[in-house]
Amino acid sequence: MDIKQIKQIIDLMKRSELTEFAVEDEGFKLKIRRGGNGLPVVSQTSASNHPFVMPAAEQPVASAAPATAGTTAKDEEGIVYIKSPMVGTFYRAASPDSKPFAEEGTKVTETSVVCIIEAMKIMNEIQAEVKGTILEALIENGQPVEYGQRLFKVKQG
């Protein structure tokens, strides 16, 4: 089976109502199934060593990579960001007279509290969810923050 034949099969599936197609050959197995959004999903295993260059099948719509609560995004090597998991007001310390939870140089682990985000009168402690050293606080005390907004720049490790 060569690339041309596989392309033909994909075209056939797109034009028809076929939901699944499978074929087995010597040292080669191919299965194509309609994905959740109706586009064919190709999976193949090959016993041979020839690296298959799959045709760039139509990709499902690339939505913005969902940032789950508190997880970080990679920037330069080893640099990650702590992002806001909610909408509210950002506070660096537990109270106006307390020391900030995290400053430049503070070492944090996954469960270290780095700040407070106040939403509807409730103070929510936000955990780092990453291990490393705080490089910079990106938001000023008392500023409103939105979901996914970068709060701290962290050097991982």
Binding site: G38, S63, A64, P66, V87, G88, A119, P144, Y147, G148
Partner: protein, 454 residues
Amino acid sequence: MIQKILIANRGEIALRIVRACRELGIKTLAVYSEADVQSLHVQLADEAICIGGPRSSDSYLRADRIISAAEIADVDAIHPGYGFLSENAKFAEQCESCNIKFIGPKSCSIKMMGDKAIAKETVKKAGVPTVPGSDGPVDTETEAVKVARKIGYPVIIKAVAGGGGRGMRIAHNDVTFAKEYHSARNEAEKAFGNGAVYIEKYIEKPRHIEFQILADSHGKILHLGERDCSVQRRHQKLIEESPSPFLTPDLRKKMGKASIKAATAANYENAGTIEYLVDAKGNFYFIEMNTRIQVEHPVTEEVTGIDLIKQQIRVANGEKLEFDQSDIKFEKHAIECRINAEDPARNFIPSPGTIGLYYAPGGHGVRVDSHAYSGYTIPSHYDSMIGKLICYGRDRKTALERTYRALSEYLIRGIKTTIPLHKAIMSDPVFIEGKATTAYMEEFMNRTPPDLFT
């Protein structure tokens, strides 16, 4: 005095609300998910706050984040649009307790009309005709036959625990009733583990006709005429028009009066819609009340000349409605086509993706409510409606021809849409003659070759 509104919605209705606010000099705050960063209304609103990930459950349905955003941005009111939290009584209550004006009815009205059984009882007491039926489950054949005869055949026997069109049987007379009754019970027992059934009058090939209500907080309740939404596929509306080609002036008056009675019984404020099924003889039956602004509101706007979103905001602001029932004139005929990113030739499979060329029609009597634009990527996380085409003219013939003309100019390249389907319907004799009932779409699809939709 409302000076800033948070729009708790997305897509074309969010854009609609931004436009109304602009014209009223009110500031707008768009709350959006990460999938809607490039959405038109987010770009056009005065402020924007991201409230979550792409999934609705992680963003547009997060009442806590929305209210949080409302507080940090210091808004006076929230417009919930349609869908999402618009008919969530708890959300409306939360707004009320946070001193943020919810642009819609009171939370108690939402609660009352949200329970279909309570809604039916409430309007029935007010003298509004409802679908005749047994008051609750019917447990013996003798009792069931009595009820069926009282209601009048044909009747539909429905499972109390049912849904999705299952556990329903239709009986046309005494002879077949017993058999259908027992079959329905058995099916219900097997499918839902509960064999209890109730009986309702079966309305054959009804038309779906709804009335627009507008009420202020000073006791004035008006109706703004009807919309005929019979062209539906799997209970999803595709085309709406006003006036209904079926209603006589007399029936319109009767149904209008009934609608005001229903809204009064619900203690209603702001915009809402009363939905009815109408049979071939002109008998109408209340099925439900929608306590929000609806997708098809532009149809009524073009027929009456009244801006419903602006009126919603004014009512929320405590203002009195400036006009009376006698001032409302039905001067145009309007037809709306819902443009969905779906492929009608392949069973309406959703067709998300990036729009290449987008060119919307224009000219006399053409209105396009859409958030789409060239290069816009339709997210796959939400419903498939990308816009509405509303065409209007002095009579139905003009509206029909104009709709066909506008659809012919409407270019949306790169994805599949329902534009060809709408064109086919506009040319179909049954629809042209105004004979479409809720049975129309299935019948039309059965006799129309799929390549007419490409």
